[in-house]
């Protein structure tokens, strides 16, 4: 064995590094948390990195995991070494092909970041529910529990599959392992070559479909043959575990790291044993060692090869002394006798006895428990509680651990305070903002310590559920031994708080161990900061004897030209005071890393960073801590007292980062949550907010339309209401030819605004003698916060203006109350203005089916959600089914509504004589095409309900239940381009074809935004995206044209930043159209790479350069003898290059390869002009009346 090369990587990179080198074809589809494996492979392929045999693998992104699995199956059949990466729903979509691949005994090893399958809710986090759904496919299941194992088992799985012919699914825990950064020993090409002899590859290739020696697979078999043929594979499965063990033994010879099918750690005479797999087994390993040191006779069996389950190896792994076994499953199978691993263990013990290989004096008793669903923390304390349970005379046969189940009382109690980590492991916790670079700096720190010292290093990062102003918490460990602690740091010797205001929101020092070092980024210096701290923080500092340091990192950053990037500064502080490395050495290493990262970006960037490092040390101060807490300031309550009970009891606890403490009884049983909770979370993340000048304002309401967070709103109201207005509340006379004598106010929600500035950017009203002053200017938030909070409260209490008197225009719609507010979307988001508009226009009668993606995350990610209700309690009813099925899901809404409406109408007709013929007739024939019509119908239904309550028939009761459906319902199918263009297109197309009254809103960011910028078929020609690194060579798919080809679908292409009135008109027309409507909405996005304050301006350029032509195709126009297609934007006025060069996604192609960019730009120019010309011609062509014969 040569000297080991050590690297610091995360689990995804560890697995992908091997998978890439051992394969030729990689077909994937992005899904969290596996996406980085595909992305890395693509990146390596673009850079020309070769596999073990000296050729660059083909990496292809497909339209869905179903597609990826098909491509994998095909590539395997055609003889290539092939792999894929996936998780969760993605893995579920691969199941049909997995049966086929296994049924054909095809060698492959796929790599899965095990992730929760969506049930009552979606979760991106880790458990084994997806993998467990594949037990029956015939794939071997190989579990790794750490970053090192993910690296090693990627190799073992591949070799074992080629040896055994059984396909392998290698999995590791999503996030906990896939995203944990760890120092590991690297498998060299030479070692991989020793592991994988060419004969195995040759045998695989020999089985390929080849017309030179043709065979046929995929036959259809009948009762006479199928059963026997299915049994024919048995010898391969029987032999598989032996192959795996042989490969593991060979691996030990090559690398020195030995694994068994079932690895046992513990006392050779242990009486109590836990059995589990994945990262939890590492924590159990660590805990068992600690318990052994306390004299307990315990042990753990780590399951490596779960399928095929080798009874003999399992039994041999257990000490003969075993009396009680607890099997821990990271999955839930409702209704089963027990979870899968538990059942397997019981069956194995029974089988062993029957086979006569049981070595136990008495069959051990077995209990089973669930743990760690959706990456729930799984700690030594919890494992200890399982051992304690096993020691009881009558332990719970089935239990859960890690939560408090106060409903079915299955949970085990555990000691919240137990901490088994030794002192020589340096633990640190950092609170940062996503945008301040804290995580990046910490990853860099781990690299420095991992690669430049003898220490082992580990980093794990916890992210926010909100995208704007997102916080990150980094958990770092450094120590003299490999780190097995697969759980968050609890007692840190170093706590860094990179944002001063976090002290008011979070219990940052909860993580601090006694005597810890606390570093605070503070605008107040060492003399002033103490008095400004909340009392709770002062008390903790004194009580825990914390050494307290401050630095004004933003000041240092500003003075050294770093803007607001404080990552390098805070990293320097950490090294300077934590003592993990000698100071000088640490500084030299940081500078080396800066040189490496920024060297190519110019000497100035490097210089600025160096200056920042040097200036840091001069500005870092220790604070003298007084003996007494003096502050009168306390941390404010998480939510205000007037918040509803549920929000107080449940939501507020989650907001305080203490959701783990909530018991089972706090939660709804079926995933049903109240709407309108975002308003209780006052995040106050804006540094600046808009300030309104009523004297200059022209009352266009454009600011409200573009606001992504509904944080700036107009209202008109009777002047009499102003009597009770707060003193700083502003108003102006409402300018309107029709509505006289009203007052007008634009009000900002200071604590909900994200400070994106888009409202100010679109404000057209300038002070004539000082044009830099507009009707909206940005001003620092803190001094305005209190007054504007009161003003916003007063504003909300003002009555909503009568909807029936407002016209459907940009200005008019903005007086409608938004029923989507304060979402977690990015600052400046280009999607949410459309969603908000939808809720303003139709929200009180809308059902929304939302495809998975950004819009389902900012729409439905806990703790708080943005969809809300109006004063009558009405608002959008919302659900997210899956990614791929959203069109069909929403279509189902329509079927149900139509059926129930039809039944209600039948009942109404039946009961007409008792209710009153006239009322029944009016209800049945009601014109609900306007706000007034809908309001009138609601009034009629009140009368109807009153009358029905007087009737005693079952028909009357039935009608009372269904009467709601007599008010027109608006069904909206909302999703992004990944859904509409790629994974959900098949369903979408079918819904187009069926022509029922559904409205489809495609939020087109032209890239997979939520999963991090992978190309979709909506990605435009010339744009760089993941899987199109050199710029997409082909134009985006013309979804609008495809929809128009049906003839009966209403189609609109809109861009609110370019022509907001056309957007509003399209929403109105789409909703009123009695068939299928689709609106394809241009959405600027952070994945385009520019400051989104310019979003609307870029949209304008997009339209005027012909990049995004606007049009509406309304089949109703054809009936009037007109062309249904109407172009709403003129022929291209600007060069499309002007639009493209403003965005990083295009510019980076130029920076990578200017010649290629030039070609792509030429192609884009051509595309823009031909496409516009095509629409022009279509406008004419559609105008031809096909019923008339032409001479």
């Amino acid at each position: 064995m040569a000297d080991r090369v050590m690297i610091t990587v995360d689990g995804n990179e560890a697995a992908a590094s091997v998978a890439y080198r051992l394969n030729e074809v990689i077909a994937i589809y992005p899904i969290t948390p596996s996406s980085p494996m595909g992305e890395l492979s693509d990146e390596w392929a673009v850079k020309g990195k070769k596999n073990l045999w000296g050729t660059v693998p083909q990496v292809t992104e497909m339209q869905s995991e179903g597609g990826a699995a098909g491509a994998v199956h095909g590539a395997l059949q055609a003889g290539a070494l092939t792999t894929t990466f996936t998780a969760s729903q993605g893995l579920l979509l691969m199941i049909p092909n997995m049966y086929k691949i296994a049924g054909e005994l095809t060698s492959m090893c796929m790599h899965v970041t095990a992730r929760t399958v969506a049930t009552h809710a979606l979760s991106i986090f880790g458990d084994h529910s997806d993998v467990m759904a594949c037990r029956q496919t015939g794939f071997a299941l190989l579990a790794s529990g750490s970053v090192q194992e993910a690296h090693d088992f990627a190799c073992i799985g591949q070799v074992a599959s080629l040896r055994s012919r059984v396909p392998f699914l290698h999995f590791f825990d999503g996030f906990r392992t896939s995203h944990e950064v760890s120092k590991i020993s690297y498998l060299s090409d030479e070692e991989l070559r020793q592991m994988l002899p060419d004969e195995l590859v040759a045998a695989h290739r020999a089985r390929a479909l080849n017309p030179e020696k043709p065979v046929l697979r995929g036959t259809a078999q009948n009762p006479d043959a199928f059963f026997q043929a299915r049994e024919a594979c048995n010898p391969y499965y029987f032999a598989c575990p032996e192959h795996v063990q042989a490969v593991m033994d060979q691996f030990a010879q090559v690398t020195g790291r030995a694994y068994k099918l079932f690895d046992y750690v513990g006392d050779p005479e242990a009486e109590r044993v836990v059995v589990l797999m994945g990262s939890g087994a590492e924590t159990a390993h660590e805990t068992v060692e600690w318990l052994l040191s306390k004299g307990e006779k315990v042990g753990v069996v780590k399951v490596r090869l779960y399928r095929p389950f080798d009874v003999k190896s399992f039994i041999e792994a257990l000490p003969a002394s075993t009396k009680a076994i607890a099997v821990l499953d990271r999955t839930k199978e409702p209704g089963a006798v027990g979870e899968p691993l538990y059942l397997d263990v019981i069956a194995a013990l029974d089988e062993a006895e029957a086979m006569g290989i049981s070595q136990f004096a008495q069959q051990p008793k077995v209990i089973g428990g669930r743990y760690g669903l959706s990456s729930k923390e799984f700690t030594p304390s919890m494992i200890k509680s399982v051992f304690d349970e096993l020691a009881k005379e009558k332990p719970k046969r089935h239990f859960t651990v890690g939560i408090m189940d106060d409903v079915t009382h299955l949970s085990l109690a555990y000691d919240q305070e137990l901490d088994i980590e030794p002192d020589d492991v340096q633990r640190s916790v950092f609170f940062g903002l996503g945008s301040d670079g804290t995580v990046g700096a910490n990853k860099n720190t781990i690299k420095i310590i991992g690669e430049e010292t003898e220490n082992w290093a580990q980093g794990y990062f916890v992210y926010d559920s909100k995208k704007a102003g997102a916080i990150t918490i980094s958990h770092l460990r450094f120590g003299p031994r490999p780190i097995r602690s697969a759980y968050l740091v609890k007692r840190a010797q170093f706590v860094g708080c990179h944002q001063y205001n976090f002290l008011e929101k979070y219990d940052v020092l909860e993580y601090a161990a006694p005597g810890a070092v606390f570093l605070l980024n503070s605008p107040l210096g060492p003399d002033k900061v103490w008095d400004d701290l909340p009392r709770e923080v002062q008390e903790q500092i004194i009580e825990k004897k914390i050494k307290f340091y401050v630095i004004d990192a933003y000041d240092v950053a500003a003075k050294t030209g770093m803007g607001r990037r404080i990552n390098t500064i805070m990293q320097t502080c950490f090294f300077a005071i934590s003592g993990v490395l000698p100071r000088e050495e640490a500084i030299a290493q940081i500078k080396k890393a800066i040189e490496k990262t920024y060297g190519k970006k110019g000497p100035e960037v490097v210089k600025k960073n160096f200056e920042a490092v040097d200036q840091t040390l001069a500005n870092l101060y220790e604070v003298q801590v007084p003996a007494q807490a003096t502050s009168q300031k306390r941390r404010p309550p998480i939510v205000p007292d007037e918040a509803p009970d549920f929000v107080q009891r449940v939501t507020a606890v989650m907001l305080a980062n203490k959701g783990d403490l909530l018991p089972v009884s706090a939660f709804p049983v079926d995933g049903t949550w109240p709407t309108g909770t975002a308003k209780w979370e006052k995040r106050a993340i804006a540094l600046q907010i808009p300030v309104w000048d009523p004297k200059i304002c022209i009352q266009c309401n454009k600011c409200a339309l573009v606001c992504p967070h509904a944080a700036i709103r107009p209202k008109i109201y009777d002047p009499a209401f102003l009597e009770k207005a707060p003193s700083t509340f502003k108003s102006a006379d409402f300018r309107s030819p029709d509505l006289k004598g009203l007052k007008y106010t634009i009000q900002v929600a200071p604590e909900d605004c994200t400070g994106c500035e888009v409202c100010v950017a679109v404000c057209p009203a300038k002070d004539k003698s000082n044009p830099k002053h507009k009707a909206l200017d940005m001003a620092p938030m803190p001094p305005l916060r209190e007054a504007e909070r009161e003003n916003f409260k007063f504003f909300l209490d003002l009555p909503e203006f009568d909807r029936t008197k407002l016209e459907i225009s940009v200005k008019g719609t903005q007086f409608f109350e938004p029923l989507f507010e304060f979402s977690g979307a990015c600052a400046g988001c280009g999607e949410t203005p459309y969603v908000k508009l939808l809720t303003q226009m139709f929200g009180d009668r809308a059902l929304i089916a939302n495809a998975t993606g950004c819009s389902s995350i900012y729409g439905g990610n806990l703790p708080t959600t943005p969809y809300t209700i109006n004063r009558d309690g009405r608002g959008p009813a919302w659900n997210n089914s899956l990614f791929e099925d959203n069109a069909e899901f929403g279509f189902g809404f329509r079927l149900a509504i139509d059926k129930q409406k039809e039944f209600a109408e039948e009942l109404l007709k039946k009961l007409a004589s008792q209710i009153g013929e006239q009322l029944a007739d009016e209800i049945l024939k009601a014109d609900q095409s306007s706000e007034a019509g809908i309001q009138a119908q609601r009034e009629r239904l009140k009368v109807l309900r009153a009358k029905l309550s007087q009737l005693d028939s079952s028909d009357a009761q039935r009608l009372a239940l269904l009467a709601d459906y007599l008010v027109k319902k608006s069904v909206w199918i909302v999703g992004g381009d990944g859904w509409a263009y790629d994974i959900g297109y098949g369903g979408l197309d079918h819904v187009f074809a069926l022509n029922r009254d559904v409205n489809i809103l495609v939020l087109d960011t032209e890239v997979y935004s939520n999963t991090g910028g992978q190309q979709s078929k909506a990605t435009p020609l010339g744009a760089a995206a993941k899987f199109a690194m050199g710029g997409r060579p082909l134009p985006k798919k013309d979804l609008a044209l495809m929809a128009m080809s049906y003839g009966h679908v209403y189609v609109a292409k809109v861009a609110f930043g370019a022509r907001d009135n056309q957007t509003v008109l399209a929403f109105k027309e789409a909703e009123s159209y009695p068939g299928t409507s689709v609106i394809i909405a241009y959405c600027h996005c952070i994945a385009h790479g520019y400051d989104l304050v310019h979003g609307p301006e870029q949209q304008k350029l997009a339209v005027e350069s012909g990049y995004w032509p606007l049009f509406r195709f309304d089949p109703r126009r054809a009936l009037a003898g007109e062309s249904p297609l109407k172009l709403d934007s003129p022929a291209p006025k600007f060069d499309v290059g002007e639009f493209m060069r403003n965005e990083t996604r295009f510019r980076m192609v130029e920076q990578l390869n200017p010649e290629r960019f030039k070609q792509l730009l030429e192609a884009a120019r051509h595309e823009v002009n031909t496409r516009y010309h095509l629409y022009e011609e279509l406008t004419k062509a559609f105008a031809i009346d096909g019923t008339k014969k032409e001479n």
Binding site: K47, Y463, Q1151
Partner: protein, 330 residues
């Protein structure tokens, strides 16, 4: 007929060349310019500030959004390979050098002392035959004296001269209070050439939207007069070679520029209007005129109408203004 000239110490077949412009972004266009007989290629300026800003904004777009959200640790393909420094410009120098056999003069506008020196060195390494320094910065600071501004340019020119071995020209603006003195001082530190003069984008006002908007006007022959005067004044007073830039549109313009002292005649607007082949017709026109007027060489013409040599030097200094006024008839 001897059209050859020496500019920045480079022996050129004749004085006519494209001036600094985006024309040379395109290699095809560079070839056409060479085919049209350009005696050298002058590249547009690489702007250090622009590169720095672009670099920082790309970094911000990529890094500012990264590592913030669990599902998307980044939004762009990894940027290691993206070239955010002056690489593209340097690459273009290399490509032009590979595709043409005439000298290539690069142009630099720095924004930091380190940048001027570092970029100049890189430009030299990339193979440029000479370097034009585009030194003008709009003097908007009311506390900064003209002397300070001139000193800064002198410092830059001196530093660059020390850093590189290739000839260095300074492209001047007309906005110096004592241009003759300033040119002399540049000459003293060994600058190899002076280019008269820089033209700037002038901002315009949009009265509807109350916005300042950039505009681009091509030059015309009327702009030549200012340059003729200063060529005439400087010729013979400085060792540095002189080039005219701005306002040469016709054969007559070109001849005037040579006669007042230009050793090189740079054209941009005329080529943008008429295509690169126009260079050839200017050269042929000058040849025809020379034949007609029995000139043997361009050298004979250069500076013949300069202040030192022309019959009526006062006309360049002051009288011109007076005579115009006197000749004006109502």
């Amino acid at each position: 007929m001897d059209l050859s000239t020496t500019y920045l110490g480079l022996k050129l077949a004749h004085p006519f060349m494209p001036g600094a412009s985006p024309l040379v972004d395109d290699l095809g266009m560079v070839k056409r310019l060479e085919d049209a007989g350009a005696s050298a290629i002058v590249m547009h300026s690489v702007f250090e500030e622009q590169i720095l800003r672009e670099g920082l904004s790309t970094l911000e777009a990529i890094e500012g959004t990264a590592e913030s959200y669990a599902e998307a640790l980044s939004y762009f393909p990894k940027a290691d390979e993206f070239r955010l420094g002056p690489d593209q410009y340097l690459e273009q120098i290399r490509k032009i050098k590979e595709s043409v056999s005439i000298p290539v003069i690069a142009s630099l506008n720095g924004s930091t002392p380190a940048g001027w020196i570092e970029y100049a060195k890189q430009i030299e390494q990339a193979g440029a035959d000479a370097l034009e320094l585009n030194v003008y910065i709009l003097a908007t600071n009311p506390w900064e004296t003209g002397e300070t501004i001139e000193q800064r340019v002198l410092d830059i020119a001196r530093a660059v001269k020390r850093a590189v071995k290739i000839p260095v020209a300074v492209k001047l603006s007309v906005f110096y209070s004592s241009l003759a003195n300033f040119a002399k001082r540049l000459d003293e530190i060994g600058v190899d050439g002076l280019v008269l003069f820089n033209r700037f984008y002038q901002p315009d006002i949009d009265i509807e939207n109350l916005e300042v908007v950039p505009t681009l006007h091509l030059s015309d022959s009327s702009e030549l007069l200012l340059r003729l005067r200063w060529l005439a004044i400087l010729h013979g007073n400085v060792k540095a070679s002189l080039a005219v830039s701005g306002g040469v549109h016709t054969v007559t313009d070109a001849i005037k520029a040579l006669m007042t002292g230009a050793q090189a005649v740079q054209m941009v607007s005329a080529l943008l209007r008429n295509g690169p082949e126009y260079l050839k017709s200017i050269r042929e026109g000058v040849v025809a005129w020379m034949q007609e007027h029995e000139y043997e060489s361009v050298v004979q013409m250069i500076g013949s109408m300069s202040l030192q040599k022309c019959a009526d030097p006062a006309a360049f200094e002051r009288a011109n203004y007076m005579r115009v006024l006197q000749s004006y008839r109502i």
